[in-house]
């Protein structure tokens, strides 16, 4: 394979595509509450913003991973000789080449081998890695590695995993959950028991049972897993990487490289979306291993096929529910059992179990509950974090149940939900009081009050516009057999890391005069994955420090952890840390001002002082000094950790405990049109109402709600990773066979944003990103049920489910 011509612009010895500081200059306005534009917007629309897959280094090699072709097998032998002999190949590594005693990693349980050892536990597990001077050379060399497998039986669901003679996915477990799970193929089990279900059940006039199935969803972020590892002179390595949490990666990477953490430097490269799929490591360790082995920079970029194997997915689930209610429309009790398939490795399964159980009843007042959630170990693909994180599966089921109970009682489904809606002060099944606004009934009222989209929108003087009909440009109907349906749903999601986790963020804020103007620099390790955290940080700095110019420093491990970009937490926690650091900087600046100018004006000592418009002003509006004069040549800098209020673990037997930091709520109304003859669905409109506490950037908030809504739509009608139950092999790892919504599949999404402040949170804000992903799916399902009269107990819904062919 030919070598590369060097791009002319690259400087020798330095990678290109490395992130640089981004400064929003004086031309940019916008403190908190304004729809300030993204600081990286221009770079992103000109193609100049460098993503992790755009990194380039002179003399770099390309890494390739060989993955298992079977789901569960002993590895009898691995022969790398032919691959190693391939011209252009610099290294081939297997488990035996791992340099340190530590050979496993994992978010919570270190059960995932860096490279397979002795056996593989799922289809697509990494077995060997190759570095070569051209990606195609690396791919072909990897294909020349001969791995002999001896098949083992697979466990793929609850029945097979918990059967008496079931093969154990992990023998000799010693993690901290093994003591309380009833079977070694259960990662974690969380029961929640409150009240007296037996007694409540006797009060019920109606009892409704349901069994539901939730398919395996993929995050399908568009920027594939990728990064560049550059060996450093001190024997360490510098990894430029797309991730959701730099410091969590670092904690897992350094031990398997046999390096202290300070010899593994990490810088966030441009991230093309995440949605939970970058919480776990993917190619990080492999790139570092190859770079350290070859002494050359190594870039790894997954293609889409590999990406489907290279990250965890949303847990598929089976959910069993029983709801009881009295004739006057009040819930008596809820019993449920939620079985999540965690696949071959633990990933975030324990925390997903915590969410599914604690949020399993939904945003309703129910005093008597019995909940059990488990996550299985199986030989299916590993599952972990995805937007909504355990709450999504539960919401799909409990909202279907709410519709069934309403129907049984002859009540309007919205009215029935409102009669049972939780509000501030309601106790969760965990016993935790909801101690900030919980406008569940109001969100339902708002979403119901939105104007309905007109009927038969596809009709025009020139006939039917098929683009607006089910089947679209396939031209399958001009309106014949098309029936409209409307459905509602509401959900509850926790914000932030729960169950006693020390969930903090760090921010470093610096203020100095540059070019005659005061400039604030914000440096955090927050992973900007598209959510707009960098925009919000600049807004906070402007609001708190009264400056126009704000520089966003690239995220790296040279500053303390910012925690994960997940759990809807970054604006709350890292935003809180930035505000806190800004306040500390402000105090130092004012001290400086008092020292310099205090003697000349009594207000320095007596008045409440603010920083506004580049000046120190009193709360009465009197200008005391220019920040330029106060600062002079000095730079004021603060780095500080910030924590939200602590949480507690859930009791392992009763599930009681103040486990969550904050709750967020969204409601949806879906309007669908179904071609009942062909089973094709067109979602006509998906309206959302959400309480966000305080919209720090309304434009971004609405964008998050619409994006989350659309991912919920995807898993309602098209998205599912199909795993063969006999072989545990993935059948559709491509965008040809795993469909995500296109712009033609996606309807208009009107959004009504409510802002009821949470007094415990910075600026009163409430995490936004996940709640809209919950209620979107059940609303669409409810609308399809309304249109068709079918029961529809699984998602995604496929044409065969609507035409009676399965």
């Amino acid at each position: 394979m030919p070598s590369h011509k060097l791009p002319a612009a690259s400087a020798q010895g330095q990678p290109t595509g490395v992130p640089t500081r981004i400064t929003q200059g004086s031309g940019t306005r916008g403190g908190i509450g304004e729809s300030t534009l993204r600081p990286d917007g221009t770079l992103k629309v000109t193609g100049e913003f460098a993503y992790s897959s755009d990194l380039w280094h002179e003399d770099m090699l390309w890494g390739q991973i060989l993955r298992s072709t079977v789901a569960h097998a002993e590895i009898v032998s691995i022969d790398t000789s032919e691959a190693l002999a391939t011209p252009g190949v610099y290294a081939v590594m297997t488990y035996d080449d791992l340099p340190a005693d530590v050979k496993h990693y994992g978010l919570e349980i270190q059960d995932t081998p860096v490279l397979a050892h002795g056996k593989v536990r799922h289809h697509g597990e990494p077995v060997a890695i190759v570095a070569a001077d051209h990606p195609e050379t690396a791919r072909r060399a990897a294909a020349k590695i001969k791995v002999e497998y001896r098949d083992l039986p697979v466990v793929t669901d609850e029945a097979s995993a918990l059967a008496p003679d079931a093969v154990l996915v992990h023998e000799n477990r010693d993690d901290h959950h093994i003591g309380h799970v009833p079977h070694p193929n259960i990662v974690h089990r969380q029961p929640i028991v409150r009240g007296d279900v037996a007694a409540a059940r006797r009060r019920a006039d109606v009892i409704v049972e349901g069994e539901y199935t939730f398919g395996m969803q993929d995050q399908a972020f568009l920027g594939p897993e990728s990064g560049l590892a550059v060996p450093e002179e001190d024997g360490g390595v510098h990894l430029y990487i797309a991730t959701q949490w730099l410091h969590s990666d670092l904690r897992q990477i350094a031990p398997v490289l046999g390096l202290p953490e300070d010899k593994v430097r990490m810088t966030l490269a441009g991230v093309g979306g995440a949605f939970g799929g970058r919480e776990d490591l993917s190619m990080q360790i492999h790139a570092c291993l190859l770079a350290l082995r070859t002494g050359k920079p190594v870039k790894i970029v997954y293609n889409r096929f590999e990406s489907f194997f290279g990250h965890v997915h949303r847990h598929p689930a089976k959910l069993f529910y029983e709801h009881g209610a009295t004739r006057d429309g009040k819930l008596t009790h809820v019993k449920c059992r939620i079985v999540l398939d965690g696949g071959a490795y633990a990933s975030a399964s324990p925390a997903v179990v915590g969410n599914a159980s604690s949020l399993g009843v939904g945003p309703y007042v129910v005093d008597d509950v019995e909940i059990e959630a488990i996550a299985l170990y199986t030989n299916n693909p590993p599952c972990g974090a995805m937007r909504g994180f355990g709450a999504v599966q539960a919401c799909f089921a409990y909202e279907a149940q709410m519709d069934k109970v309403a129907k049984e009682l002859g009540l309007d489904p919205v009215e029935f939900r409102q009669r049972n809606a939780m509000e501030q002060g309601t106790l969760m099944p965990t016993g935790q009081p909801v101690d900030s606004p919980a406008p569940v009934a109001e969100l339902l009222r708002r979403v119901k009050a939105m104007p309905m989209p007109p009927e038969r929108q596809w009709e025009s003087s020139e006939g039917a516009d098929v683009r607006q009909l089910p089947g679209g440009l396939s031209n399958t109907t001009h309106g014949e057999g098309v029936v409209r349906g409307v459905g509602y749903a509401v959900g509850i999601k926790n914000v932030g890391f729960s169950e006693g986790f020390d969930d903090y963020s760090t921010a470093r804020v610096r203020m100095e005069v540059v070019g005659g103007e005061p400039v604030a620099t914000v440096h955090t390790a927050m992973a900007e994955v598209g959510q707009g955290g960098v925009t919000v940080h600049a807004q906070i700095a402007r609001t708190e420090l009264g400056v126009a110019q704000v520089t966003i420093h690239p995220a790296n491990t040279q500053v303390g952890s910012a925690g994960s970009t997940s759990a809807s937490r970054q604006t709350y926690v890292t935003g809180g840390a930035v505000r806190n650091a800004c306040e500390l900087v402000r105090e130092k600046v004012l001290e400086l001002g008092r020292r310099r100018f205090g003697p000349y004006h009594p207000a320095w000592a007596t008045a409440e002082l603010l920083l506004e418009g580049g000046k120190v002003v009193t709360d009465g509006g009197e200008v005391l000094a220019d920040l330029v004069d106060v600062l002079g040549d000095e730079a004021v800098e603060v780095e500080e950790e910030w924590r939200h209020r602590p949480t507690e673990p859930f009791d392992l037997r009763t599930g009681q405990g103040n486990g969550h930091v904050q709750y967020s709520f969204a409601a949806h109304r879906a309007v669908v049109e179904v071609d009942t003859e062909l089973g094709l669905v067109k979602v006509v409109e998906l309206a959302c109402a959400q309480d966000v506490g305080k919209a720090l950037n309304p434009l971004s908030v609405v964008g998050q709600i619409q994006g989350g809504t659309t991912q919920g739509l995807g898993v309602a009608v098209m998205e599912e990773i199909v795993v063969d139950p006999k072989t545990a092999k993935v059948k559709n790892p491509s965008f040809t066979d795993y469909l995500i919504p296109t712009i033609l599949d996606t309807p208009t999404i009107p959004v009504d944003v409510l802002e009821l402040a949470d007094e415990h949170a910075p600026y009163g804000l409430r995490g936004v990103g996940e709640a809209p992903t919950l209620s979107s799916t059940p609303a669409v399902l409810a609308a399809i049920r309304d249109a068709t009269g079918l029961e529809l107990n699984r998602t995604p819904v496929r044409p065969e489910h609507l035409t009676g062919t399965v």
Binding site: M1, P2, S3, P7, T16, R21, Q24, G27, S35, L37, R38, P39, D40, G41, T42, L43, K44, V45, T46, G47, E48, A50, S53, D54, W56, E136, A220, L222, G223, P224, G270, G272, G273, F275, N303, R304, D465, R467, Q468, V529, G530, G532, L699, S700, V702, G703, Q706, G707, T709, T710, S734, F735, T736, P741, T742, I743, L744, T746, T748, I749
Partner: protein, 190 residues
């Protein structure tokens, strides 16, 4: 093999191109133009959309050799391309004289403030159509081409024209807003 073609108005030559390389690979890895993105490598996502002799194509599905002697416009050249179109100096591509004048535009080392943008690029920023931005280059090339053909698109026209470009972040609403905004500004001559 050696490849000669025109990229964003500038003649380009790439040596030692393996016959199996795609146009996308040559743009990204050999010409230092990584703006076009690789997200599926099978023509499903549209992130690699460029114009080949004016026609939007998935550059991941175009063998590099097929671009021999032809004109390619990528997101990096979109602003220049739009400016020249507005001036009426080029039908597509660039005249030889203009090509000789061509300078890499590019953002400055800060946010790119002051960078001259195509109307559709500015509209994407203003409407909040950019989140992670990975789909943005392909969407911009596709949207710009659609507005060239159809300056007053209906919503259904926009959805049809952009249906080959996947976005996972936005739910497309702000992309619709951005294209409507670009069309409106275009018709007002803003």
């Amino acid at each position: 093999m050696r490849l000669n073609f025109t990229v964003n108005g500038r003649p380009q030559e790439a040596d030692d191109v393996w016959e199996g390389e795609s146009l996308l690979y040559v743009l990204r890895e050999r010409l230092g133009l990584p703006g076009s993105k690789n997200a599926c490598e099978q023509g499903e996502c549209g992130s690699c959309t460029v114009r080949l002799d004016g026609v939007p194509v998935c550059s991941c599905l175009v063998a590099a050799g097929q671009a021999e002697g032809r004109e390619v416009v990528t997101v990096e050249g979109l602003a220049d391309f739009a400016r020249q179109r507005a001036c009426g100096t080029a039908s597509h591509g660039t005249s030889l004289d203009e090509a000789r004048q061509w300078q890499a535009g590019g953002a400055d080392s800060r946010t790119g403030e002051g960078t001259e943008l195509a109307p559709v690029q500015q509209a994407f920023i203003d409407a909040g159509a950019v989140q992670c931005g990975f789909c943005t280059p392909g969407l911009l090339v596709a949207a710009d081409e659609m507005l060239e053909r159809n300056p007053n698109p209906t919503d259904a026209d926009i959805r049809e024209a952009l249906s080959g470009n996947l976005c996972r972040c936005t739910g497309y609403e702000k992309i619709m807003d951005a294209v409507r905004l670009a069309a409106a500004r275009q018709s007002e001559g803003v």
